[in-house]
Structure formats: structure tokens, C-alpha cells
């Protein structure tokens, strides 16, 4: 990986837009960046890591809250967005990563949280969001980055890191192996294991298929039995059917001789059957008429009863009216007589004048005459008329004349029919005179039986045929299943594949171990060589790497030095980094933050001499006070492509980075 530029906007101490280009080349691989302490060297280093991995880890190993990455001055000016744009090259492709964060504030205006957004372009094409982080890790894995984007202050504790039995140590070990290409060979081993287990699964599946095949074969046998049985039964039914057809044919021949008489017998039977039905119906109709006659025997006189009833009703009304009139006249007579006697009106109480009294007397006399006439007894009396009405009511129930007429006509028709039928029967009887009717009847009965039996055999044929067809279909379906199971996979081929994959897997397992050991030894050798180049004295002969990639200094007699100074620790760590860089499957940049803080001039000169030779791109973040010796300046400056200087702005919260003159 080669870094081409970093562009920061309001990131940490950098206010506004700040761009740093790293126009390194093979002959000028070095970029020098100077800055006072706490002015932004590590922040520039952090900007690269934040752009790539979306987080900033401080030197204590803690993650910095993202909302605090916004420059304070910019925040005070109301800015809420900060970003870093990183331009890279890797394996001949150019990449642009732009990471932006927008922070939100609480009601009091304090920083609350942030929302991150990232876009990435590869050769000007946008990378899909889900693919961004995997692509970044492909360029430089986050775990590996501790060696190539290296804060030397952190690496001072390298030994402690790899000694601890924790996830971090495991991560570093894994990162080193990643640099050296161990994962590739491990991946091959895993692939072989996968092939082996797939082949095993196939063999197992084949074994199950074999069981299924046996089951299907058994089912086929059963269905074949069914088919055979159905075919046998079908043959029997066909034979029976033929036999009965023959029998029917013979009977038909015999009946043909008696064709005419047979026909007459048939007609006779039909006529007799119909006659019986009609006689039964006549009987039913007669019973209906008999019941109707019992219930309305007065039917002949019903019309006269109706007239008589009306007449009686009228007479009753007249008698009732006469009685009522008599009562009214009696009451009037009594009222008039009373008034005349008292001399005042019985109704209004007023006095009756003398002139009116004679008039009232006349009215009384007239009423007496009328009452006398009305009192002459009536014949018949009202009571006897009412009694007569009551008796007549009993006969007013409508007689069943319509029913009787309809039934009688039906009986007459049926009797006529019967008479004709009887005539026809007599004729037939004469024609059949001298013929043995029982023989013909027996033949007919037998033919009827045979016809029924033929019907039964037809049903049997149909049933057995259906059974045979169904069994045949089932056999065909099972055979198709059986063929499919047979053609799944060649068992031998899979067995060989499984054996080869298992064998290769074992070989690769051993190869991984060998490869680890070999590469470790190679790194060890390279680290030793580099270490020798970097140290001021040849006091130590070698660096040894243990299984955890921990480093041990040993002399020619194999004695180790456990107590090392801080400066030596930095040189040891740098030796490992440069050795890893030399042996890495992918070489690239080396960004070193304050690499010389604890080194004397001799070590610094050695390193500055050596670094450009080992890396394609070296970015050194140096303290402003760090002066290059004449020797270093002679070695290094011709290889420097750019020099930058970090300066402070008007406010201590603002830093700027610009090209150094």
C-alpha cells in the first residue's frame, strides 16, 4: 500500500481543510513531517487510521469518542461536520476513501454523538457500501496496521503484548502470520478438509441411496405381485365372460325357435302386471268414494238444505225484530201513562198543559192496539226457528261431490282399459293354446340370469384391469425413482476423491507447521540481520523469535538478554517490522510516529540510513527539535520527496500543516 495524500477537514487540531501529498517515488521514498509536541503529528497519523478503519485509538489503547474528533475552534464556529479523504495505491489500483462524521449536540449545545458516513472509489468506480470495509482490510488488515502504521511509543511494549495470553496477543500473532502469507496455505488446508468432508457426505448419501434402492426394489416386487395377480384374475374374468356369452347365445338360439310365443308370453305378462296395478288403483279410488259417501250421505239434498237454511235465517230475523218492536212499544206506553198520571213530562220534568193531555191519551190508545197485535203468538216461534237453524248447520258442511265425480270417472276409465286389456289377454291365451309356456318361461328366466352374470363378469374385468393398470403405473414410477438413485454419483469416484482430499489435507496440515517454522526462521534471520545493522554495538549476535512471535536477544553462545533498555526495545521492534516488511507477501508504506524519541544519535543515524532501503514509502513524523546529524542528512535528504511542518494558529486549538521550505 502506498499513501498518495491525506486531506483533513476540521479533524482534531486541524481546522478547515488541510491537505498533505506524499509524492514519493522509488528514488525518493521518504516524507518528513515535523511538529512540536501536542501540535498534531499523532493526529495526522490518526487521520489515516480513522479514514481506513473508522476509529481512533489513543496510546492507552482506548477508543476516542468520535464526537471529540471535531476541531474545537470549528465546533465553536458552529461547524458540525469533519472528514478525512485518503488517496491510496495498492496492487496497481488507485483507491479513494472519504469518511465523514456529523455530530449532534444536546440542548445546551454540548457534543452528544456522531453519525458516520463513508464512501470509497476504486479506479474512479464507487465500491458498494457493504464491500468497503472488506476492501480496506484487503489493502491492509487492521491487525497488520500496527506494524506498518506504527506508533513507536506503542511498540515499545511489543514484548508485553505478545507475552500476554489474551486476544490482543492472539491478534498480533495472527497479523504477523497474515503478513507472511500463512493464511493462504491454511486456506488451502481448509479447502481440502471441506472437499474431504463433502466427499464423505456424498459417500454417506450414496449409502442412504442404496438403502432407499433396496426399499424401492421391494416395493417394485410387491407391485409386480399385484400386477400378476390382477392379470390372472382378469384372464379368469374374461374366460368366464366368454363362457356366459356363449351360454346366452345358445339360449337366444333356443328362444328364437319360440320367438313368437315368447313375445306373446312377454306381452301377456306385461298386460297382467298392468291389470294388477289398475285393479289396485280402482280399489283405492272406491275406498275413497265409500269414505266420502259415509261422511256426506246427505249430498243429494244439500242444495235444498242450503235454501231451507236461508229461509229459516230470514224468518228468525223477522221474529227477532217483532219481539224487539213489542218491547219498545211497551216501554213507550208505560212512559206516556206515567206522564199523564203525574201531570209532568217523565223525560224533562216540565208540566203537561191540558191541551196536550188528550193527545197523549190518543197515543196511548193507539199503542195498546199495536201491542195487542204484536202479542199474537208467532208460528213457528223464534226459539224453534233458532233450533232449526242449529240443526241445519250440521248439513251445511260442503259435500265431497267433486272428489266423488273425479274418482268415479277415473274408475270408469280404468275399467274400460281393463276390459280392452282383458280382451287382448283372451286373444293371446287363444294364440298360446297348445304351447308349453313353462318351457319358454324357464328359458327366459335362464337368459335373464345369464345376462346378470355377464354384467358381473364385465364389472370384474373392469376392476381387475384397473388394478393391473394402477400396478403398472406404480411399477413405472418406482423404476424411475430407482434409476434416478442409481445415477446419482459414481461411488468409486467419490471414494477416491475423499481419500485424496483427506491425504492432501494431512499433508497441508504438516505444511502449515513447516511453513510457519520456515517463515518464522526467515523473519528471525532477517530481523537479526537488520538488528545488527541498526544497533550501535555488535554486542548481540542474534534475535530469536518464539512461538508467540516474541523476540529474544541472544549472544553467540546462545545466552539471552532479558533486561533491555527502552531504546533497544524500539530497535528490536523496528527490526521485526522491517523484517516482516521484507518477508511480507505485499510490501508497502511504513508510517512511523516519533520513532527516535528514545534513541541515541548513532541508532538514529543507522535507522535513517537503513529505512529508505527497506521500504517503498517511509513517512516519518518527527519532533521539531530532532536535528539530523550530518551523516544522516547526507544519507536521507537526497531520498526525501516532501517535507512538511505542523504549525500552531492564532488559537492553541488550531494547527496547520504546510510544506516546509
Amino acid at each position: 500500500m502506498i499513501i498518495r495524500s491525506v486531506e483533513m477537514t476540521n479533524f482534531m487540531p486541524y481546522v478547515g481543510e488541510q491537505k498533505v501529498s506524499f509524492d514519493t517515488s522509488k528514488d525518493h521514498p521518504v516524507v518528513l513531517i515535523y511538529g512540536e509536541n501536542n501540535r498534531g503529528k499523532s493526529s495526522l497519523f490518526s487521520s489515516i487510521k480513522w479514514a481506513m478503519y473508522g476509529e481512533v485509538i489513543d496510546r492507552t489503547g482506548r477508543k476516542v469518542l468520535e464526537e471529540n474528533l471535531l476541531n474545537d475552534s470549528a465546533f465553536d464556529d458552529g461547524e458540525r461536520v469533519f472528514s478525512v479523504t485518503l488517496a491510496l495505491e495498492s496492487d496497481g489500483d488507485s483507491y479513494l476513501i472519504q469518511r465523514t462524521a456529523e455530530i449532534s449536540t444536546d440542548r445546551e449545545g454540548k457534543r452528544l454523538s456522531s453519525k458516520q458516513k463513508v464512501i470509497m472509489r476504486k479506479n474512479s468506480n464507487f465500491v458498494e457500501h457493504v464491500e468497503i470495509q472488506p476492501t480496506v482490510n484487503q489493502i491492509m488488515n487492521k491487525e497488520i496496521s500496527i506494524f506498518f502504521l506504527c506508533d513507536m511509543e506503542v511498540l515499545e511494549d511489543y514484548e508485553k503484548l505478545v507475552k500476554d495470553d489474551n486476544l490482543a496477543a492472539e491478534g498480533i500473532k495472527s497479523a504477523i502470520e497474515d503478513i507472511l502469507g500463512v493464511p493462504a496455505i491454511v486456506a488451502v488446508r481448509e479447502a481440502l478438509k471441506s472437499v474431504s468432508s463433502e466427499a464423505y457426505a456424498e459417500i454417506k448419501k450414496n449409502s442412504e441411496s442404496s438403502k432407499e434402492s433396496t426399499r424401492i426394489q421391494n416395493e417394485i416386487s410387491l407391485e409386480e405381485e399385484k400386477f400378476k395377480k390382477a392379470k390372472t384374475e382378469l384372464s379368469k374374468a374374461i374366460a368366464r365372460h366368454k363362457e356366459k356369452e356363449k351360454e346366452k347365445e345358445d339360449l337366444d338360439k333356443q328362444l328364437a325357435k319360440h320367438e313368437q310365443s315368447s313375445e306373446l308370453i312377454g306381452i301377456e305378462k306385461t298386460l297382467l302386471d298392468q291389470e294388477a296395478i289398475d285393479l289396485k288403483e280402482i280399489e283405492r279410488l272406491r275406498s275413497e268414494i265409500q269414505l266420502a259417501m259415509r261422511e256426506s250421505w246427505w249430498l243429494p239434498i244439500s242444495h235444498l238444505v242450503e235454501s231451507k237454511y236461508t229461509e229459516t235465517q230470514n224468518a228468525t230475523e223477522i221474529a227477532a225484530s217483532r219481539n224487539s218492536s213489542l218491547s219498545a212499544k211497551n216501554a213507550r206506553l208505560s212512559a206516556l201513562a206515567g206522564s199523564l198520571e203525574s201531570g209532568s213530562c217523565g223525560e224533562c220534568g216540565q208540566g203537561i198543559p191540558e191541551s196536550k193531555k188528550s193527545e197523549i191519551t190518543q197515543q196511548i190508545e193507539k199503542l195498546k192496539v199495536e201491542i195487542t197485535e204484536l202479542q199474537i203468538p208467532m208460528v213457528p216461534s223464534l226459539e224453534s226457528l233458532m233450533e232449526e237453524s242449529k240443526r241445519l248447520s250440521r248439513f251445511r258442511v260442503p259435500p265431497k261431490a267433486a272428489l266423488i265425480r273425479s274418482d268415479e270417472k277415473s274408475i270408469r276409465l280404468l275399467l274400460n282399459e281393463n276390459m280392452k286389456r282383458r280382451q287382448r289377454l283372451n286373444d293371446i291365451s287363444k294364440q298360446l293354446d297348445g304351447i308349453d309356456k313353462s318351457e319358454v318361461q324357464q328359458l327366459n328366466a335362464k337368459r335373464h340370469t345369464v345376462s346378470s352374470e355377464i354384467g358381473i363378469t364385465m364389472v370384474s374385468i373392469k376392476t381387475e384391469n384397473t388394478k393391473a393398470v394402477e400396478a403398472e403405473k406404480e411399477i413405472s414410477a418406482l423404476q424411475s425413482k430407482y434409476s434416478k438413485l442409481q445415477s446419482v454419483v459414481d461411488v468409486n469416484e467419490v471414494t477416491i476423491e475423499h481419500a485424496v482430499a483427506s491425504y492432501l489435507s494431512i499433508i497441508f496440515e504438516k505444511s502449515v507447521q513447516n511453513f510457519r517454522e520456515t517463515t518464522k526462521r526467515e523473519v528471525e534471520k532477517a530481523a537479526s540481520e537488520i538488528f545488527k545493522q541498526l544497533v550501535s554495538k555488535n554486542a548481540f549476535s542474534n534475535l530469536e523469535i518464539n512461538e508467540n512471535y516474541g523476540l529474544r536477544l541472544v549472544d553467540d553462545s546462545g545466552r539471552s538478554f532479558d533486561h533491555r533498555g527502552a531504546g533497544v526495545e524500539q530497535v528490536v521492534a523496528l527490526s521485526l517490522i522491517l523484517a516482516l516488511g521484507r518477508k511480507a507477501v505485499r510490501s508497502g508504506c511504513l508510517v512511523l510516529d516519533t520513532p527516535f524519541a528514545r534513541l541515541d544519535d548513532v541508532h538514529r543515524d543507522n535507522i535513517l540510513h537503513y529505512l529508505p532501503l527497506e521500504s517503498e514509502q517511509v513517512i516519518l513524523l518527527l519532533q521539531s527539535g530532532e536535528k539530523l546529524s550530518a551523516k544522516s542528512a547526507d544519507n536521507l535528504l537526497p531520498r526525501v520527496s516532501n517535507r512538511y511542518e505542523i504549525t500552531i494558529g492564532e488559537s492553541p486549538k488550531e494547527s496547520f500543516i504546510r510544506k516546509a521550505v
Binding site: L291, W298, L299, P300, I301, L304, E408
Partner: protein, 128 residues
């Protein structure tokens, strides 16, 4: 007075040989009546409807007892019908029923024998 007369009326009624023969025919041959008493009552109604009198009775022989009044006319319908429709016969309605039945049976039988429908006979009027 009427009650007293009725008490003097017949408690059993009889039919002549001819009348019995007609009953036999109507119940066994024509089968229009299930029972002879049904034919007896209907015959009375025919005779009443057609306004026959005792003088219209044809020559009949040896009238013998046929039915008791209790079974022939259990609720007095026949008696009431005769009394109402022929007040002149109300003194002895059951006695009158004997000649009414003889005439009615003869009419029904004769007309049936000529091919008439029973219903036409029942709904017809006195032949002139």
C-alpha cells in the same frame, strides 16, 4: 207433543227383498258403499231431494227388520233431516225412512244399471 210422537216412532227399520237386493248390489257389485247403512241413509236423501211421497213406493215384498236406529242414526242426523225437510213426516221420521229408502235405493240401482254416474244420480232431480 213432537217428543211424544217420536217415542211412538220405529226403533228398528226394515227393507223389502227388493230393497235388500239393491243394498247387496250397491255394496258388493258396484261397491259405492262400504256398508248397507251408508246406502240406506243416502237413498233417503235421494228420495227427499226428489220430493217422492209414500204413494210413489213401488210394489215391494216381505219387509224384514234390517237395522237398529242406534247404529243407523246414532246422533239423529237422518231424523233431523227428514223432520226439517219434510215437516209433514216429522211425526214418525224413522217409519217414513223405510219407504224413502226403498224408493231411493230403487232410483239409484235403476239409474246405475242404465249406465249413469253415481254422482249424477246423487245430484239429479226427480225424473218426470
Amino acid at each position: 207433543m213432537e217428543q211424544e210422537n217420536i217415542l211412538k216412532d220405529k226403533a228398528q227399520v226394515g227393507l223389502s227383498i227388493e230393497g235388500n237386493d239393491h243394498i247387496e248390489y250397491l255394496t258388493k257389485v258396484y261397491k259405492w258403499f262400504e256398508d248397507g247403512q251408508d246406502a240406506y241413509r243416502t237413498a233417503c236423501a235421494v228420495a227427499l231431494a226428489r220430493g217422492f211421497n209414500e204413494t210413489d213406493l213401488p210394489n215391494v215384498r216381505n219387509r224384514t227388520t234390517k237395522y237398529g236406529i242406534g247404529t243407523l242414526d246414532p246422533i239423529g242426523s237422518l231424523r233431523d233431516l227428514i223432520c226439517i225437510m219434510r215437516p209433514d213426516l216429522s211425526a214418525r221420521p224413522y217409519a217414513a225412512s223405510e219407504w224413502l229408502a226403498e224408493i231411493g235405493l230403487n232410483v239409484i240401482r235403476t239409474e246405475l244399471d242404465t249406465g249413469a254416474l253415481l254422482i249424477d244420480i246423487l245430484e239429479g232431480e226427480k225424473q218426470s
